[in-house]
């Protein structure tokens, strides 16, 4: 049966750009999950909350620098400042979490660190909810409006900025992992911690760096999320966290390029994919079904390709 798309070209190109935008956020967050899983074989359940803390820190920084009164070139500086503040907040939170909640449990039964991570996640989420009286905060609306493009193909400045800076951050991370001494240590620990320590790698230090790198990416994602969606709240970390984990699994958990690709696949699947399903006769899935699509995708991938859609090298069977 030939499927004739009923909606216009500009609708689909918009959906595609939206998919890339959310996909960028998922990819940035997914990197933290995949790297921690790579070295510790543990799901860092609190990573979504690290992202949330970054977003709030960035909000605080933007408001402190003038909030809605910012204009002209000051906006660029303020956003850069907010990103740096958010990264530092996420990184410090993550280092503290690793030290207090995860490190004492290394070598404990498999479930213990996971439960501990769930505890951290609940703690941080409700701490922020209580501090904000469970109300949402609104990022200053300072990003220049307008769009680039011609005819039906358009991309707003904020989307372009979001996608470009995510790609830049991921390129930077990839260079660190592939080119530096630290990156080599991380890859060695991921391969085999005992052997790495025999070769003179300080495993504890390397693990801390893994948390730092992942949290830095989550902090950037927090500010980008705030600038794009504007509304942030204490419970905002949960769904993106789960989605990002899904993205990491999609790309083959432990694999860094896989997490990036998985983020984009998931972002596109839940925007473009949902609209494509709506093209089928008798199907009308509202916006809420996005989450169902993401979870269904996760379950399907785990069943049929547990090593991820881009299975690489000898990843151990899930």
């Amino acid at each position: 049966m030939p499927v004739a798309l009923t909606l216009s070209v500009s609708f689909w190109s918009d959906q595609f750009v939206n998919g890339l935008t959310t996909g960028s956020l998922y990819a940035l967050i997914a990197l933290g999950y995949t790297m921690v899983y790579g070295v510790l074989k543990m799901i860092n359940f609190a990573h979504g909350e690290v992202f949330m803390l970054g977003s709030f820190a960035g909000y605080g920084a933007l408001v402190a620098m003038g909030g809605n009164d910012l204009s002209g070139p000051a906006v660029a500086l303020a956003i850069l400042g907010a990103i740096i503040v958010a990264m530092s907040a996420s990184v410090s939170a993550s280092v503290v979490i690793e030290r207090l909640a995860y490190r004492p449990l290394r070598g404990a039964p498999r479930l213990a660190p996971l439960i501990s991570a769930i505890g951290v996640s609940i703690f941080l989420q409700y701490l922020v909810l209580e501090q904000t009286s469970a109300r949402a905060k609104f990022y200053p609306d300072i990003f220049p409006r307008g769009a680039l493009g011609a005819g039906p193909f358009e991309i707003t400045y904020i989307q372009l900025f979001l996608i470009a800076s995510s790609v830049a951050m991921m390129a930077l991370l990839y260079a660190i992992i592939q080119r530096t001494r630290l990156g080599r240590a991380i890859r060695a620990v991921a391969e085999n911690p005992t052997n790495a320590s025999l070769m003179g790698v300080d495993v504890n230090r390397t693990i801390v760096f893994v948390f730092i790198l992942g949290a830095a990416m989550a902090g950037v994602a927090g500010v980008l999320y705030g600038l794009f969606f504007q509304t942030i709240r204490g419970s905002m970390g949960f769904i993106p966290g789960i989605k990002a984990f899904t993205a990491a699994v999609l790309g083959g958990i432990g694999s860094i390029p896989g997490a990036m690709a998985g983020g984009y696949v998931l972002g596109l699947a839940e925007t473009v994919g949902r609209e494509l399903l709506n093209e089928l006769p008798g199907v009308n899935l509202g916006n809420q079904w996005r989450d169902v699509i993401a979870f269904t995708l996760l379950v399907t991938i785990l069943i049929f390709r547990p090593t991820g859609i881009f299975a690489q090298r000898s990843t151990t069977r899930a």
């Binding site: 799901i43 449990l105 439960i115 501990s116 505890g119 609940i122 703690f123 409700y126 899904t246 169902v292």
Partner: protein, 383 residues
């Protein structure tokens, strides 16, 4: 270590043998000693003991981390709701006692359907898939409003009759739910001590070794999953009949995490642990909201004044200013509301770090976590 070779005095042995009948007998006296709000609180505690015992089979016995236990609870509750609520499109007006087995069956089928594809996977993946599944069920209940009436929920679910007598008051419900908990507790402890229980234990300790010893790991994991789901379904049917109204909001991730925390904080695999965990996590937050508690806390006005005095002194000494403490009689409610989850999260971390085996670990677990140099006696795991 205490000297285990000396025989304990005979009366302690008698006490140990009859500890469960004695405990149940004591429990049955409670409604005579307490007011209605307390008994209502205890109904919830008993209901969560049922759920905790069910999840204990999955997490404690077989070592499978299930973060979507609410899905089975919801399956049971919605079976009851859909088949009896006048608002449901498929209201059949069936009797509670007929729905009870149907609800248990449906919940275990849901468990099997979910478990079949994901159980061959590693533990952490199982955690995420079950978590996602719990959310899918909730979203499904909200969005398929033609069937479930969405977030409006199903109301006027009838209460059960027992031999022509309607179970109505909190005291009657208390006895009913406690009876359910006793039956479930008896079944799970028999399961634990059976060949099946030993297979679960072997899988929990080391799946590869268990498989090498001839344990069909997938089959036994599936069995654990289905048993846990069946008990969750039982809890759901009882819950729907007790509350009389169900809506998707009652089946959030929080329920899964509450039940999991009951199992973990109490001590994985331990029945007294589940009871203790449920009293702490379900009972205490409710007690904090009672009028008795605020009446009692009202006596602490002097403490509030003293602490506020300290805070004002601090304010005077440093730049910036802190808020003052609210009136003492509201402390309980405040603690129960916002701060509950903050404490709860911190408690999970602290218990994992300090007492990874839980507050009241099962005897086997206590051996495993014992910090002495002599290796624990090798458990007999092969069935």
């Amino acid at each position: 270590m205490p000297d285990r070779s000396a025989p304990p005095p005979p009366w302690t042995r008698t006490l140990a043998r009859f500890r469960w009948p004695l405990f149940v007998a004591f429990t049955c006296l409670l409604p005579f000693l307490l007011t209605d709000v307390w008994v209502q609180m205890l109904v919830f505690v008993a209901l969560f003991i049922v759920l905790g015992l069910g999840l204990n089979v999955v997490v404690g016995f077989a070592g499978l981390l299930d973060l979507g236990y609410v899905a089975f609870f919801a399956a049971g509750a919605y079976t009851m709701g859909l088949l009896t609520s006048p608002g449901s499109p498929i209201d059949a007006g069936l009797d509670f006692w007929l729905i009870l087995p149907i609800g248990i069956l449906i919940a275990s089928i849901v468990g099997l359907l979910l478990g079949l594809p994901v159980l061959p996977l590693r533990g952490d993946y199982l955690a995420i898939v079950t978590l996602g599944f719990g959310e899918i069920i909730r979203l499904f209940l909200i969005n398929r409003d033609d069937l479930t009436r969405g977030s409006q929920g199903l109301s006027a679910i009838p209460r059960p009759d027992l031999f022509g007598y309607r179970i109505d008051s909190f005291t009657e419900w208390f006895y009913f739910v406690v009876a359910a908990a006793v039956v479930v507790g008896f079944c799970t402890s028999r399961l634990r001590d059976s060949r099946i229980g030993r297979a679960w234990e072997a899988i929990r300790e080391d799946e590869d070794v268990a498989a090498a010893m001839g344990v069909n790991t997938t089959k036994y994991k599936l069995l654990a999953f289905a048993s846990g789901a069946a008990i969750g379904g039982l809890g759901g049917v009882i819950y729907a009949a007790f509350i009389g109204f169900i809506s998707p909001a009652a089946f959030s991730l929080q329920v899964s995490i509450d039940v999991l925390a009951i199992v973990i904080i109490g001590g994985m695999g331990s029945t007294p642990g589940v009871i203790l965990g449920s009293l702490i996590l379900i009972g205490v937050p409710r007690i904090l909201q009672f009028r008795e508690t605020s009446d009692f806390l009202a006596n602490l006005g002097w403490l509030r004044d003293a602490l506020n005095g300290l805070i004002s002194a601090l304010d005077a000494a440093t730049p910036g200013s802190l808020g003052r403490l609210p009136p003492a009689e509201t402390w309980g409610a405040q603690l129960a509301d916002d701060t509950r989850f903050i404490i709860f999260g911190a408690l999970l971390v602290i218990i994992m770090v300090v007492r990874p085996s839980g507050l009241w670990p099962s005897s086997r677990r206590r051996l495993e976590f014992a910090h002495d140099d002599t290796p624990p006696p090798a458990p007999v795991t092969a069935p």
